[in-house]
Symmetry: C2
Subunit: 238 residues, 2 copies
């Protein structure tokens, strides 16, 4: 049997029970993982995740396209921010993009010790779950969270993914966080967008200027891609 575990924030990543033969699914629904999936669906060749703005600037100076934001605001030198819609233009097709965000890329950095790292979003959830079942590996779903805190959107995504993995008899839930994520998803499932909007009165989501990307972020299977970290660069492995 392979285990499924959920880590609600990067700060809890060092506490995961699974110690070997595991793939990390990084989930930052608002917005890095949704945007990365959109990018590959729209023909981006590769994405270089960079944790610091200094590195992002260095890639810019080398001639790469750079997507970069902090707390929802595009940083000065970047070509664009991290809305999924930014990655749906002709300008990005076939390109390699250096990408830095508040939570997402930092979570990717943290999980480099795993056997593999893949990006998960509602937009690639079905393809991703099929791919994970084929890998015959333990799975740790790493929620990017918000500044090391628990957030609802990444947690209900974890629950939705667990629901799909459970169709395979090879998986077993290995921690209370995974049980909780699955339960939260049962509440959110009838209308994930409405569910998440109850958190929208919090300062966090107001600051993100989410507008219509919010709706897109909770649509299933709009991107048939499996972005996998390979030699430090994300490429589509589907």
């Amino acid at each position: 049997m392979n285990t499924i575990e959920v880590c609600f924030t990067p700060k809890l990543y060092s506490e995961i029970v699974t110690k070997e033969n595991f793939i990390v699914v990084m989930a930052d629904i608002l917005r890095a993982s949704t945007s990365i999936c959109a990018a590959f669906e729209n023909g981006v060749e590769a994405i270089i995740p960079v944790a610091s703005l200094e590195e992002a600037k260095a890639y810019k100076d080398k001639g790469f396209l750079v997507a970069s934001e902090r707390e929802g605001i595009v940083t000065g030198f970047a070509d664009f921010g991290n809305s999924a819609f930014n990655f749906m233009t002709e300008a990005v097709k076939g390109k390699t993009i250096a990408y830095s965000t508040t939570n997402g890329t930092q979570a990717i950095e943290m999980a480099r010790n795993a056997e593999g790292l893949v990006i998960g979003a509602f937009s690639n959830i079905s393809i991703l779950s099929q791919w994970l079942i084929k890998q015959n590996c333990n799975v740790v779903i790493l929620c990017a969270g918000w500044k090391n805190k628990f957030n609802l959107e990444d947690s209900i995504f974890a629950g939705a993914l667990i629901e799909k993995l459970k169709y395979s008899p090879t998986f077993t839930i290995a921690c209370d966080a995974a049980e909780a994520a699955l339960d939260l998803w049962q509440i959110a499932k009838p209308n994930p967008l409405a569910y998440i909007q109850k958190a929208a009165h919090h300062e966090r989501l107001r600051k993100l200027n989410l507008d219509d990307v919010l709706e897109y972020s909770f649509q299933f299977d709009t991107a048939n891609v499996v972005p996998v970290l390979t030699d430090g660069v994300l490429v589509n492995s589907y």
Copy 2:
């Protein structure tokens, strides 16, 4: 308005948003907070929370009664472990007990920077919520968790307490973790014991030798006490 925030594990305590004028409710349902409430209900005078076994041993040498366990096992020198039933004897009435547990007392140590610290359990939930409403303070519910990981029992307690605090118009939910706790409680509420038993196949709960204290731990209002930390010692403030 006063805020309600939930911290799912001590490791996330440094990330809480509320920075001043807050009371921490420490919840370690299995078993420290349930046992502490039982102790005061049964006439214990005071409880000295100690984080390390070395300190517990020092109190023992000074002639105090000592309750101490690690991972559900009574430590060698202690008078008893941390089952609530251990505190329901004639021997403890009027006594001051030094108390050290795996998760609970360490969470208490961590929250000493707050305006106040109070112990929360299902057994004192109604009295506690009335007391909290009177304090006119922000509230941070600190789940002791399990070895820095999220656990279901402390999280559904957080949700149950939030439900009661929400009867007061002076409180507002301030983070996604509190929203999630409240939602998990809605699922668990019809039968909290059955809900928690779905986690019972995990190694964690098997190790605890919970037997019949499990049922007691999810009963409401069996202890009309409000254990408050005062000068480093827990006393009943009801």
